[in-house]
Symmetry: C2
Subunit: 276 residues, 2 copies
């Protein structure tokens, strides 16, 4: 059996701190960098952010949507970013939020987690609208050392109606999801590659966050309003090395100068390291 | 303002019937067709299904996951399929089930609905886990004649815990979603390009389906177990031309012979036309 994603991630966080750098080549950031909103701009930004992250961030998180805007040509850039990150020994979490049913999820899992795919990443984010049980094809890749982060509570206000709706057992949807993930992690003892996405701007779920037995991917810090202190409070009882904090815009906004990007990555790493 | 997707779809359904043919180049189907599970197999199947659908189906629905398995090379095939379908005057619904928050949804909407993108389709399926309100960037494309189908109730059993959870106002999540879509359709009077995905195998929601003022995309018929009669009962009071029924495996399984595929498309069109 391959080394689990959970173990690999813990080792990185222990060595480098809990920072994940978001690779978001949006029109806004490319404009601020005075670069064209094109495949060339995409590639320039992606490789600059990777370079600034090597040795200072546990992982990078390319936001797939920004690459998909350019169709196959955008995906070629994403494939190169993933390959380069692998060469540089940086973990890649593909922020794809994929999710469907049955055989379709098998295809998405193959796309993002199988070695045979040019998009193969260390982990992928997935959406549980069709039910946690429908995501089984993704979970089947845990034993191959891949990671899966399931959306539980997103950082935006509009998500609350659905994510805090109550099940027949009077449990909030977000708690149902977290509890289901914890049960799967318990069945696959020691694997710990199954994680949750939990926005730092959200109130604490009823679920005891320390009992997930897997990692958290935490957006919402920096430009979205949450502070490192908010993260520290939310996850205070979680084991070391299980909370990965994503920062995108607050780092990207200082580019395109390589030295400025690298300084921002280091500063965020240091800001976060005191809590986790 | 461009002609609305709702109007265009109604015209197609009136002329050709309510059949949408799923383009699902899965390993299973390619194997049954004695074709390689490769980019070449993908292209062969896609173009064969498109050819069989021209003049007999209102739309085709490529399942994006099967193309994404091959990364940028798979997306090149999808781009060709979309372009060929456009040339053949067949509506394309990209079954992508994308969904995120804020600026990321703006990027996904650009990827699937903007003329500048090589993946530009007539409509796209989206997932509301982050809340219907977060999907606004997709809805902003309705006035450009694009369609959006939001997942409301999926055809799989595992989806029910979440989709039938109750909001603070004691309304099921699926009903909250459908009601929100109807409200947006009412604001954009006569546009009718905002639709819902509702599995044919699901029990009837409390929401009055006839009041959506937009189209339904209905999976679950054929291999997934629902019959045309089930569809007829579920949507019996909906206006003509607003129910689009997807059939994938029950058609694909007769391939790869072109004439057999075409016969299957015609048979399903006729099966469905008596109800809708």
């Amino acid at each position: 059996m391959a080394e689990s994603f959970g173990v690999r991630l813990q080792e990185r966080i222990r060595a480098l701190g809990p920072l994940c750098v978001g690779v978001d080549p949006s029109p806004a950031v490319l404009g601020a960098w005075d670069r064209p909103d094109s495949v060339e701009g995409l590639e320039f930004l992606s490789l600059a952010v990777l370079e600034a992250s090597v040795g200072h961030a546990a992982a990078i998180k390319p936001q797939v949507a920004y690459f998909e805007r350019f169709g196959s040509a955008g995906y070629r850039v994403l494939e190169r970013l993933i390959a380069d990150a692998r060469d540089a020994d940086v973990l890649v979490i593909a922020d794809a939020k994929r999710g469907d049913i049955g055989a379709t999820n098998e295809a998405y899992a193959a796309a993002w987690l199988d070695e045979s795919s040019p998009l193969c990443s260390d982990a992928v984010t997935v959406s549980p609208f069709t039910g946690v049980g429908a995501l089984t094809p993704f979970f089947a890749r845990l034993s191959a050392g891949r990671g899966v982060f399931v959306l539980a509570a997103t950082s935006n206000e509009e998500g609350r109606v659905l994510q805090r709706a109550r099940s027949d057992d009077d449990e909030a949807v977000e708690d149902v999801i977290l509890r289901s993930l914890a049960e799967i992690n318990r069945r696959e003892e020691g694997l710990g590659g199954l994680g949750a996405v939990l926005g730092a701007t959200r109130e604490r779920p009823r679920f005891d966050l320390a009992s997930l037995a897997g990692p958290y991917l935490v957006p919402g810090v920096g430009a979205q309003g949450a502070s490192p202190e908010d993260v520290g409070r939310l996850f205070q009882r979680c084991p070391p090395g299980t909370v990965l904090v994503n920062v995108s815009r607050a780092i990207l906004n200082v580019g395109p100068e390589r030295s400025a990007l690298r300084d921002a990555v280091r500063t965020w790493r240091d800001n976060l390291a005191i809590f986790l």
